[in-house]
Amino acid sequence: MAELFIELFSEEIPSGMQARAADDLGSLLTKALDGLNPRDLRTFFGTRRIAAILTVDAEIPARSSVSERGPREGAPEKALAGFTRKHGVTPDELTLENGFWVLNKSLDPVSAESRVAEAVPELLWKFPWPKSMRWGAGSNFTWVRPLRRIACLLDGHVVPFALAREGDDAHALKASNLSEGHRFLAPGAFEILSGQQWQEELETRSVIVDMDSRRDMVRTGVARLAGQHGITVVQDDELVDEVCGLVEYPVPLLGKIDAAFMDLPAEVMQVSMRINQRYFALRNPDGKAAPYFAFVGNLPFKDGGKLTTAGNERVLRARFADARHFWDLDRKTKLADRVPALAAVTFHAKLGTQAERAERISKLAGTVAQAMGLDGAQIAQAERAGLLAKADLTTGMVGEFPELQGVMGGYYAAHDGEDEAVSRAVAEHYLPRGQSDDTAKAPVSVAVAIADRLDLLAGFFAIGELPSGSGDPYALRRAALGIIRTIRDNGLRLDLTELFAQAANGRTGGELAKLPDFIAERLRVQLRSEGERHDVLAAMLTDGLDGDLVRLLARTSALSEMIQTEDGRNLLAAAKRAANILRIEDKKDGPHTGTPDPALYTQDEERALAAGLDQAVPAIETALKEERFTDAMQAIAALRPTLDRFFEAVTVNAPEPEVRANRLKLLSRFRETTTLIADFGQIEG
């Protein structure tokens, strides 16, 4: 057993690639060193390094059972000679087995050192960086940025290998026991003795190599600085991670925002700081933007960070001056006056311009608003907001920061004096932007949000541009899920089938017919992730999508609840039993449909079932119509004792043909009753 330590020390690795690379290093090592039983893997990454520490066996033990089949008995001399030469043996070492010459080899034990020395260079030559580069004069070896050192030790001893290959010096890189600390605070190499000592030595050399520790230093440091001013940081885990990939020793600092810029929209300030500068935004207790920003330096500065803070503040002033330029310029043109300019913005070659899209969204938003039961004024607001929804694409600010689309439109619409509901809808119609984002709640916003996505889906389905496998370039899955979530969150009673027809806007063909199934599939995936049973979903979606998702969901949860009760489970079993009997008997002389004849009932259990069904069917139908789904489930589940008694006492395949046929008709009637609820055949027993 030995500790294997590997560090690949390079010039600065892009922040977003580090974690994945460390993972890859770990899994590739584990795979390549399989025979050494690798375990206890830990990986590390930072701006200039990826590393792994693991435990391996001291050797791959000797193996004797390897045999190689050679030429057939009586094959030409040449073939036999070739075989023996290839394996470096003499003919008398071969044995004859089943008409073939066979070499039984025993493999000597392989030391961990020689296995590692063989495996690691190979792994490095093939390392899966998303983008890599050549450098220097003599090698085609590529790495994400120039690789400067390779450290590789087994229990503290260097594993000797070189990266060179035939005809390629691979930058003369050889495994060593050397690493480096902080670029500015501890330049030069130091000797590694073990994984533990490496980590400690790096810390004394101002490199925090553990990502969690860096994250912690950033989070607590920023929070502490913010706390001193009674303000809080806007949570941004992605930014924390990115920043932690940019520094070896994180030192959070606070800078001031010039008062002259505090009237800029908070979102503008935040996006500019985040995208351009990787700064954290801060908020006052009242939720408004605080006049500070937090940033993370790469070392404890000699002057406590005074100069660098002043520098960062100056850079931010220039950034905000740019933002102010767009903010002032954009507001000189009314959003409504920008709509014609959308004619110059192509939405998609086959789907026309953004101007045409704005017209479609406007019309559709009115239709959705009407279907939602909004009043005339709100319908007009939805149409207005739909028309303006994309107009901010022609503003300078959105040109500079595309992530502000919608948000800026909302500000500009408000500035133009549009109705509050309209400017809000312009801002909110992009909701939800992602999985964790909220859906729109204001009625007019909801109408535009749904209309925007309906138009997107109908357009791309009409031209046959459907998502495939992992590829979804137009984010149609996200759009479908956005519709589903908005409808659910707001309990909207809409007929999606009707709305699809409206969204198709006279277009037919393409893949439009597949749209309901596409929504159904997204719904299925979403409900599965919430823990709903796949067979229940299959049972509810057998006949295609119910365009009223709220109704569909209520039925689904009622069914789900019922089949978890004892009555429900037994009912299910009875339904399956009935279905099985009918399947077999129908094959012989079916189908057995039609009304059973009461005169042919010979047992009380038959009469009881018939009476039960007579009572249950109207009750179920009424309950379904009134959307009392639990009542409907209860009405059918209540048949359970009657059914149990029927199957116990009655032989369906009676010797008298007319009695048998009548009993099959009765069962058939029961099966039909169950289909009022769902396709029970899909549900696993």
Binding site: E11, E12, P14, S15, G16, T47, K131, S132, M133, R134, W135, G136, A137, V144, R145, P146, R148, F184, L185, L246, V247, Q277, Y279, F295, G297, N298, L299, F301, K302, D303, L307, T308, A310, G311, N312, R314, V315, L316, R317, A318, A321, D322, H325, A344, T346
Partner: protein
Amino acid sequence: MSATRPLCFQDLILRLHQFWSEKGCAILQPYDTELGAGTLSPHTTLRALGPKPWAAAYVQPCRRPSDGRYGENPNRLQHYYQYQVLLKPTPEDSQQLLLDSYRAIGIDPELHDIRFVEDDWENPTIGAWGLGWEVWCDGMEVSQFTYFQQVGGIPTVMPSTELTYGLERLAMYVQGVENVYDLDFNGKGLTYGDVFLRAEQDYSRHNFELADTQMLLTHFNDAERESMRLAEAGVAQPAYDQCLKASHLFNLLDARGVISVSERASYIGRVRALAKAACEAWLAGEEETSHG
């Protein structure tokens, strides 16, 4: 920065010349045609190709017609300077050399926050790309650092390190000035505005309002034809000159707003074809001289 008076604009250039001269670079003079970036100079583009080592540093005036702001924006100019260094093959200590050059102009990395932030550099008009970083000082990009992987659509057989300093930005930083026109130019009272403000105003009018688009279009077509003809004749640098002229004419047409979105890609493709032909002609000549 120390307590001593910060460098004026021209001294900043002199320091960088001094520094890179000591590192063995040929100190060249600006190339004499309009360029959008220091990279486009044949001292970089053509020399980055082929198997011969090269080390040069020079100041290059850059013209970006659509960045003109009539002299009213404190940060944006349609004409500015880049300090350009090309080191071929890439030295082992490329990053250290850059950091040492910062020290030489008064930036102490233990007082200022220097970072290497990912940047995948690409210039589609000359079919070039490389990997490297934006180099930040206290949150401001002060240099671009690229390891060239391809130029003119041709892989670089001997990759080079390209360092580009934005001189005005760097000077503004070193001098603590927030408006480019306030930069101390010579340490004797002359400002950047004294030298360039009038030109910025006039060129902005020219670029956006006055340039004769019909004439520009004719010149573009002429330059394109001439560049191809010269490349076929095997005279690489004259062919490349015409490619540069076409590139600048395209930038002017773009600033005048007469190129639609769909036409843009086609113009860029035409310039790229010229760059490729000139680069291939250059490489052909290089191979002849290295074998002959």
